[in-house]
Symmetry: C2
Amino acid sequence: MVNVAILGFGTVGSGVAEVLAKNADHIDQKVETPVRLKYILDVRDFPDSPFGDKVVHDFSIIENDPTVDIVVETIGGATVALDFTRRALTAGKSVVSSNKELVAEHGHELLQLAAEKGVSYLFEASVGGGIPILRPLSQCLAANELTEVCGILNGTTNYILTRMIRSGLTFEAALKEAQANGYAEKDPTADVEGHDACRKICILAAIAFGRHVYPRQVPTEGISGVTLADVAYAESCNRKIKLLGRAVKQDDGRICAYVAPHLVDGEAPLAGVEDVFNAIMVKGDAIGDVMFYGRGAGKLPTASAVVADVMDAARHIRSRKRIEWGPGGDDVAVGPEKMAFRWYVRALGTAEDARAVPGASLLSRPGAPADEVAFLTSPMTRAQLDGALGALVPQSVFRVLE
Amino acid sequence: MVNVAILGFGTVGSGVAEVLAKNADHIDQKVETPVRLKYILDVRDFPDSPFGDKVVHDFSIIENDPTVDIVVETIGGATVALDFTRRALTAGKSVVSSNKELVAEHGHELLQLAAEKGVSYLFEASVGGGIPILRPLSQCLAANELTEVCGILNGTTNYILTRMIRSGLTFEAALKEAQANGYAEKDPTADVEGHDACRKICILAAIAFGRHVYPRQVPTEGISGVTLADVAYAESCNRKIKLLGRAVKQDDGRICAYVAPHLVDGEAPLAGVEDVFNAIMVKGDAIGDVMFYGRGAGKLPTASAVVADVMDAARHIRSRKRIEWGPGGDDVAVGPEKMAFRWYVRALGTAEDARAVPGASLLSRPGAPADEVAFLTSPMTRAQLDGALGALVPQSVFRVLE
């Protein structure tokens, strides 16, 4: 018998309770012992929930109950969740989390603590919702020297961009629609400005390259600056605008990670990833390109990833599952300033000035104002680009994914 | 220290030796003990190979060497490979294989034997080359009740179809080109007639649904009957022809598995999978659709999947990795005869006869002969379709994936 406590009875937490109950037979059979929900920690009561009798309000009940083997942390944030996770691990309980903020900020420390205590800290659901990605990265691709992880990591922004591209909605209109459909929060900042994608690329980079990368080390740009003019220019050269999180291993061993909108080739697999779907592309020396695709969010997909981790932790209750990575530091991560990219530029200025930019290939769109130019460049750093723009006044500057 | 023996020094076997040598530091660090290649079994000698000094010709040397922990079987086929696999497992050695034929025919028996002996039998490389799919299926998606697995499982046929669709080559010309590029064997039967895809869908079905499915239980149709006329009609309704292996859980718990060309919606993720790439779509009750994409074959991708399994077996040298499924039988698998599909039909006959088929939506293509008709139907079984064709003489009959 394995006993589970859920911390936080919100969307994901209640989904976990549902999946545990609904697929109990299947789960018990796979784990070869009953997996039972014993407690739900929340500040609220849920008298109408079928799980209402399991609700407690004091974490120390869970912490001090030696029969609780696995704690599911679906609180979110990095304050209370950090405290409870530390205390649960210290008490010798495995912890399963969907909390990307906590893992991105404190993953190294919490994995170390889990290792010391001989328990597991697992967080498959923190990236890509229900898409299996962290375990394949750490296990199945283990024989590869990985060189890059790159993906569409946020469903909200991908939905907004898809609506702009397919239906010609403005950013503002597409955001409103996403909010009306429940795909975006009332305060959409974390999604729209790329912070959510930033946390996820930190976690992916750590697993792929073995060192902690902190969100503050990752230059992050969202999609609020993407206009329908940019969408039209991208289409004119058979490309689509996608918000990507990228982590690229540099020749000196450091990790270059950043989040920004990119122009992606229309035939590339990432270009076909639409609506709220996510996809993560991994490059390895032996494997070439591998892509993982699915729903990156949502109650049941995320809950099913959490429950798969619970099952894995339950099977390894006396022999911790090994995920780990080394500490972060200023020598670990670098910004993309020194990397050369092809650039897409939309600017105020003349075609003559645009043609003076190295490798400039001019783009056109119907209805463009007379003083607007747009073009793709040859590969160069951002500083080289800024130097080459001359009298042009840039309105949008995005990288081209090659 | 973990010692490895490779059986069969062909493309995959030599790739495994290369990856083990090239990434030795990385591998030893991840496994936390040195992983060393001790023997290569082959009938030939390889005096010019850097691994030539490891070659032996007698399997009993490996079988009787108690220091050999892991045997890599890359011989192929189900005769000698079966004998050696049984003997290696019986001798208490874990076995890692890329041999889809052996797993599809004898997987249940060999997994049982491995379980009895407390060792691992792993075969990630047998499906999808280097794409991580078997482990995510058995572990990450464990909390889901899976309902379907469906994929482009054979790179050779996908290359041929891509060349037909994109460049208008006939099947014969595309096959010749694939052979010239090394993507198809001199005798292409196993690929072109779908036998390779059949073995892979058997393995996927067993892992997804927990029971052995034998290749003889899986009706299998290849692509040699696909014509440029079919490609053109598919394009006229924004669809692409893809060879799919499918396994669908039926309401009565049985598994319906088959291999056949399908018309796939041009916007669906599987439609964008081109050339020698493979992709596997998995449907689960909680997760929805998840897709895994990458190179399905090739020396290094396949070798990297084998080496990842070697690393996994090495880490669990005293505690077997658990994959297992129940026995097969006549009650386990059913053919697709009772399932209803929308159909694509190209036939000799009149438009009047075509319009008499339930739900018929007529298609057209430039240059079609006067006595040719093509159409999509509403959903029905194959027997219902045959009854509805009347005087029409079918030339091509494919299912539509929905």
